[in-house]
């Protein structure tokens, strides 16, 4: 396979913190077609007990992909992106991502293996605040179709 096994275990820290804005959360909620006021209206979010507008459960992908994307785009890894489809995705959450969060994502290539003609690349991305509060972990497996 053309994918470089030397990349297993390699860690890619975030270049800079990701600042979560209400506008970005609302844009993401619009894009997935979810009209919930918790994703747009600060008063509604506060009435539900949140500090500010919260993000839908899959919003973490915006932050994890921004980071793991750079790992996966590393030419040394040898992944052909047009041949890539998403295989698996899993999130664990300590709390919802909330507007105003300043987050640091750190991605690790946790595995590279073959399955039939496909090559599966797994990444784990830890998302925490700049003050070290764990918020979310994202596990992704991408498949390069063979």
């Amino acid at each position: 396979m053309a994918v470089n096994l030397d990349y297993i275990g390699r860690t890619f820290p975030a270049a800079e913190p990701y600042e979560v804005s209400r506008v970005k959360i609302a844009e993401f909620a619009d894009a997935i077609g979810d009209p919930s006021p918790l994703y747009r209206d600060r008063d509604a979010a506060r009435a539900a007990g949140h500090r500010d507008v919260i993000a839908p459960p899959t919003f973490g992908i915006v932050i994890s992909m921004a980071n793991s994307g750079q790992a996966l785009a590393d030419p040394g890894l040898g992944l052909n992106y047009a041949m890539v489809v998403h295989g698996e995705q899993r999130f664990t959450y300590a709390r919802p991502i909330t507007a105003g969060d300043v987050l640091i994502a750190t991605s690790t290539i946790s595995g590279i293996r073959t399955a039939g003609r496909n090559v599966l690349v797994s990444t784990t991305t830890d998302i925490q605040t700049v003050s070290g509060e764990h918020v979310c972990t994202a596990h992704s497996t991408l498949a390069e179709r063979g």
Partner: protein
């Protein structure tokens, strides 16, 4: 009325909901998520790499399953774990109808600490597009 842990009975089925997906959905999702993989917007390249047509982002499909969970549970903050395997592509033709993702679920198990496991099913065009789709939520 807020759903509570006491309200929930293991084995209860949650009625299916259909979510539409059009080419415009995918363009908006690409922009909002930052995933500009060409197979989600360029039919020429999608076909050239062996796909039947443009396909939806897996994460768009997962987001619809997420919507199903948060609409049932009442708040995204209830979600502790959420995972899926993408078992088939959602093909999105360039017509006015687009495609549909139908999500249904069942309360698989009640755990301690007010946690509830939902098993989810997502279909498009008669094919299961997610497998091993599960969410763990903590209800009040």
């Amino acid at each position: 009325m807020k759903l509570t842990y006491a309200d929930v009975v293991a084995g209860t089925e949650i009625a299916a909901v259909s979510y539409p997906v059009s080419r415009l959905s995918l363009i908006k999702y690409a922009g909002a998520s930052g995933d500009f993989n060409v197979i989600h917007w360029n039919e020429r390249i999608a076909r050239s790499v062996g796909l039947p047509n443009v396909i939806a982002h897996g994460m768009f499909t997962m987001a619809q399953a997420g919507r199903f969970v948060t609409d049932w549970a009442g708040d995204a903050a209830t979600v502790l774990e959420f995972g899926v395997r993408f078992s088939a592509t959602v093909v999105v033709p360039d017509d006015d109808a687009g495609a549909t993702i139908e999500v249904s679920g069942v309360v698989e198990e009640k755990l301690d600490e007010n946690r509830v496991v939902l098993a989810l099913t997502a279909r498009s065009d008669g094919t299961k597009v997610l497998t091993r789709a599960r969410a763990v939520v903590r209800l009040p």
